[in-house]
């Protein structure tokens, strides 16, 4: 289901999660998101880059130029301390919501 719309705020969580292990450049981040969501979400550049820049300006991410796996120059993003805290907060929030929605759907 590649067309699934991202919920407002979900993209942030996915990016934070994708970057939780290591620094990555843009293309790698979108691949990583596809991978960890079982190919449910394909993030397009038109959504990805504004989100990355917004999160960097918010202080959650920091960026630096480096060499990619195939030796091309690329911009790498990594989580800052604030980004890690944000990941924890958003994870908790998301779990609460997910539980609530699940219980709502199961209710008869």
């Amino acid at each position: 289901m590649p067309t699934t719309n991202l919920l407002q705020g979900t993209l942030d969580l996915l990016i934070l999660r994708a970057l939780s292990l290591t620094a990555m450049h843009g293309l790698a981040i979108s691949h990583r998101i596809a991978q960890i969501t079982n190919d449910t979400f394909h993030v397009k550049p038109g959504s990805l880059f504004p989100a990355l820049h917004r999160m960097e300006e918010a202080g959650w991410l920091s960026s630096s130029w480096g060499d990619s796996e195939n030796n091309r120059r690329a911009k790498f993003y990594r989580l800052t301390a604030a980004g890690r805290r944000q990941l924890q907060t958003e994870t908790r929030q998301w779990e609460t919501i997910a539980l609530a929605i699940a219980s709502a759907l199961q209710a008869t």
């Binding site: 397009k44 550049p45 959504s47 880059f49």
Partner: protein, 877 residues
């Protein structure tokens, strides 16, 4: 932490923008390269890989634009950019800019000025402490029946005894005062006699010295005087040594105890001296000279106070059967100062000037729409390059707000000038004019009006021009398509609404103009041309003239000298003058008339006049004779009554030989004179009776002279001659009857002038609007008109076609405007004199005038259309 990082981003985005942009560009290209590389490794050839990668990325510029949108400081950045763009666009179109700024300046300027007037007069807190708790109290009763009439000391004492709602009510009366003393030449000023609590009730403090203390209004108190700042500067060179000095007031010494600042102007704006009013125990009811001011006790509302006053009024009627239908109306201080007619007039004018702004806004919106067509390609191009529609609307709105702010600033200059003019000139003789000024409130109003108008006239065109259908616009190369057809409809609707609103203003102005013409037709009852009459108020000052013998001799001398002044045809004395200077009103008895016990005849105009008054004024003597020099203290008492008197009190029967009684004396009616207005031109003529000067002497009289030509130049020689009889004599209110008439209708003139001005501006703007629309439409139809002419259409056909387009729009506007006018002109009802709010002539003439203006405005572009050469028009393609 987050804030710090935001600030760092803001700094980076604003100040190192090229680097930020380059960085973004690099990042996206690197992404594209990697994607391409991936595709190639998956087996595509290089060209195919690059193509697929590009498609997957979407537009490079669009992605960049999306990223820019989320940047911190984006709003600010965009705003600056829009402002730069806006200024550039406006500078590239100077004609458009000037016309738009001018229209807005007029609209915003007139509104700011009117706002200042309305705020200053209706809303600005009065310069008296706690003025909102102060009420003016009047007395209304039959037979006198003045809505805001006066009471006598007995009524006041009775009220005070039963009063619980007010703190210490205070009584006052305005009077003319002769001021003289060692300090300078005698002069006559407006003064007021007030009880002790007057100043403390109003919450005002003196500049120096003190005001009246409690008890200084008791019988046998010394005479005291408080001066205004202006007279203190004029006569005493602002010296504080004046305190404790005697000053002559009406020939008797009073001790100066204090000086009030010029900001204090009560009870009348021109009041310069206040004396203490001794409350001597009255032997009888009357004279009814006094009004009151009183401060509400804490927690008491004006309504509660009024309820108590109503009870007191009932008791007054029980105590004195002469009072019928008595009421004691209490008005807030501001309402008391404004009177009843000014507030609706100011609100109507404010509404009218709002309509002018509306028309200006519509006009500019129209211009913007016309320009939108020209800019269609620019917008389409930017849309296709990834600019969001919101972004473009924002840019266009910035432009229009910029325009509005420029208009607002120019309007501010206009408003400032207008307010100075109104203040200095005070054409409407407005009360509280001193509190009209351009201040922070007005500035805020101007800023708000500019922003609002900017958005108002910018929004529709902005939405309209960013709706462009990309394909058709670019393909058509800017020629009119379906979008511009919608736009033409919008523009036509705007012009129709302009015409409708201007017509409403035109009808309103027409009504006021007709009403004003009626006012000017009112003669006041005398036939001598007003500019040939000069009048002045003479006050002999010296107490010796209180004796009738000395006084009559003095006035005989005044008249003798006046008649010798070259240019004086006739001279007379009187204590009242048309149109509105009534000195006295009183009741009377008629011989043989039976009145119920306690009943009295109404109180009507009561005049003291010398021989020749009727001839000098040109009042017809309908029966009998005029007063002569023989009607003096030694001859039988006589009276003259007005035509209205005979009709109302003598049932139109023979008046001559009947006797009326006033002040215990029976007088024989020897003449009947035509009706004269003494209470104002708009008031129904009051019946009047006249007594001869020599039989009912009073020291203060008007001298009235008549000249064969303009009488104004007689003032100087008359003044010289009269003051040579006795240098203690003071003269005041010197002026021609023409000036008096002008002054008496200054407020309606002010209303009429302003509304006519507003309607004129509206008409002009509407004419410009329809001219612009038709001219534009002719330009758009150049090709079509060329084809028509090539196919044999005559010039007259073309003119008719173009004019018909304008006329049909005007017709719709006029129908709508007439409907609006019918609904709105009733607001004018209190301002009209002698015509109804649906005056047929006005309602016929205004649409005709409007149509004429529209046809003129249409005719110019129509003529231009006929000069289109078919060859050129077709080659135009």
């Amino acid at each position: 932490m987050s804030l710090l990082s935001r600030l760092a981003s803001l700094r980076r985005n604003l100040f190192t923008r090229p680097r930020v942009e380059r960085d973004l560009d690099d990042e996206l290209h690197s992404y594209l390269d990697q994607l391409t590389e991936e595709k190639r490794q998956a087996g595509m050839d290089a060209a195919e890989a690059r193509r697929v990668a590009r498609i997957e990325l979407g537009g490079l510029e669009q992605v960049k634009e999306e990223v820019r949108q989320v940047r911190t400081g984006q709003m600010l950045e965009e705003l600056l950019q829009d402002l730069r763009n806006g200024i550039r666009t406006l500078r590239k179109n100077p004609a458009f800019t000037v016309v738009a700024v001018l229209a807005l300046a007029i609209g915003i300027g007139a509104n700011t000025a009117m706002f200042s007037v309305a705020y200053g007069i209706l809303l600005r807190p009065l310069p008296y402490a706690g003025a909102d708790r102060v009420a003016a109290v009047y007395m209304r009763y039959f037979p006198r029946d003045f809505a805001f009439g006066t009471m006598c000391i007995r009524d006041y004492l009775m009220w005070k005894e039963n009063n619980h709602a007010f703190e210490d009510p205070s009584l006052f009366t305005g009077r003319r005062m002769d001021i003289g003393g060692k300090e300078g030449v005698p002069e006559q000023v407006q003064g007021a006699a007030v009880t002790a609590g007057f100043f403390s009730t109003l919450g005002v403090r003196p500049l120096i010295g003190r005001t009246f203390a409690a008890g200084e209004d008791q019988p046998a108190t010394a005479s005291l005087a408080v001066l205004s700042e202006s007279i203190w500067r004029r006569r005493f060179a602002a010296s504080s040594a004046v305190l404790g000095q005697p000053i002559m007031v009406n020939g008797a010494p009073s001790t100066v105890i204090g000086v009030m600042p010029d900001a204090f102007r009560l009870p009348r704006r021109e009041t310069e001296v206040w004396t203490n009013l001794p409350l001597n125990p009255p032997a009888r009811y009357g004279p009814w000279f006094y009004r009151a001011v009183a401060r509400l006790k804490p927690g008491v509302t004006l309504e509660q106070a009024q309820a108590e006053m109503n009870n007191i009024a009932l008791r007054m009627m029980q105590q004195n059967p002469y009072y019928k239908r008595l009421a004691l109306p209490a008005l807030g201080l501001r309402d008391a100062l404004l009177g009843t007619t000014l507030k609706p007039a100011i609100l109507v004018l404010a509404g009218a000037v709002g309509m002018v702004l509306l028309i200006a806004v519509v006009n500019v919106a129209n211009l913007m729409l016309a320009r939108a067509t020209v800019r269609e390609r620019e917008m389409a191009l930017r849309l296709s390059l990834g600019a969001g529609r919101g972004r473009l609307v924002q840019q266009l709105l910035t432009e229009s707000v910029l325009l509005a702010v420029m208009g607002g600033l120019a309007g501010l200059a206009l408003a400032w000038g207008g307010i100075q003019l109104i203040r200095v000139w005070n054409p409407g003789n407005l009360p509280l004019i001193d509190s009209v000024r351009l201040d922070g409130g007005a500035l805020a109003f101007m800023a708000f009006a500019s922003m609002l108008t900017g958005v108002l006239f910018g929004l529709a065109p902005a939405l309209e021009s960013t709706r462009a259908d990309l394909n058709s616009t670019i393909k058509e190369g800017g020629r009119s398509g379906s979008a511009s057809r919608a736009r033409r409809r919008t523009r036509a609707a705007l012009v129709v609404s302009e015409i409708a609103v201007s017509l409403m203003l035109l009808v309103g102005a027409g009504l006021l103009l007709r009403s004003f013409a009626n006012l000017q037709q009112v003669t006041g009852g005398f036939s001598t041309p007003p500019r040939q009459i000069l009048t002045m108020l003479i006050s002999p000052g010296n107490r010796k003239y209180s004796d009738p013998r000395a006084g009559l001799a003095f006035y005989d001398e005044v008249l003798r000298r006046a008649r010798n002044v070259p240019g004086v045809e006739m001279a007379a004395v009187t204590d009242s003058l048309p149109p509105d200077r009534q000195a006295d009103a009183d009741t009377f008895e008629i011989e043989g008339q039976t009145l119920a016990p306690g009943e009295l005849n109404p109180i009507i105009s009561h005049l003291t006049v010398g021989p020749d008054l009727f001839r000098t004024l040109g009042v017809p003597l309908l029966k009998g004779r005029s007063f002569t020099a023989h009607d003096n203290q030694d001859s039988a008492p006589v009276a003259i009554v007005s035509e209205g008197f005979v009709r109302r009190f003598l049932s139109n029967q023979e008046a001559l030989g009947k006797r009326i009684r006033y002040g215990g004396t029976w007088m024989e009616i020897v003449g009947v004179a035509g009706n004269v207005k003494y209470l104002g031109l708009t008031v129904d003529t009051d019946p009047a009776y006249y007594l001869p000067f020599a039989q009912t002497y009073g020291a203060r009289m008007f001298l009235i002279v008549r000249s064969p030509g303009d009488a104004a130049h007689l003032a100087a020689p008359l003044r010289r001659d009269i003051q040579s009889i006795d240098p203690g004599v003071t003269l005041a209110q010197i002026g021609t009857m023409e000036q008096a008439l002008t002054l008496s209708i200054s407020q309606p003139r002010f209303n009429t002038m302003l509304l006519a001005l507003f309607a004129g501006i509206a008409l002009l703007l509407a004419a410009v609007g329809i001219y612009g629309l038709i001219a534009y439409s002719v330009a758009q139809r150049t090709h079509e008109i060329g084809v028509r002419m090539a196919l044999g259409a005559a010039r007259s056909d073309v003119v008719r076609m173009v004019v018909r387009q304008g006329a049909s729009l005007a017709a719709i506007g006029i129908v709508l405007g007439l409907g609006g006018a019918f609904a709105l002109t009733r607001l004018l009802s209190t301002m009209l004199f002698g015509i109804g709010v649906t005056d047929a002539l006005t309602f016929a003439a205004a649409p005709l005038g409007m149509m004429l203006v529209v046809l003129l405005a249409t005719f110019v572009p129509a003529l231009r259309a006929t000069r289109i050469s078919p060859v050129v028009a077709l080659r135009y393609e």
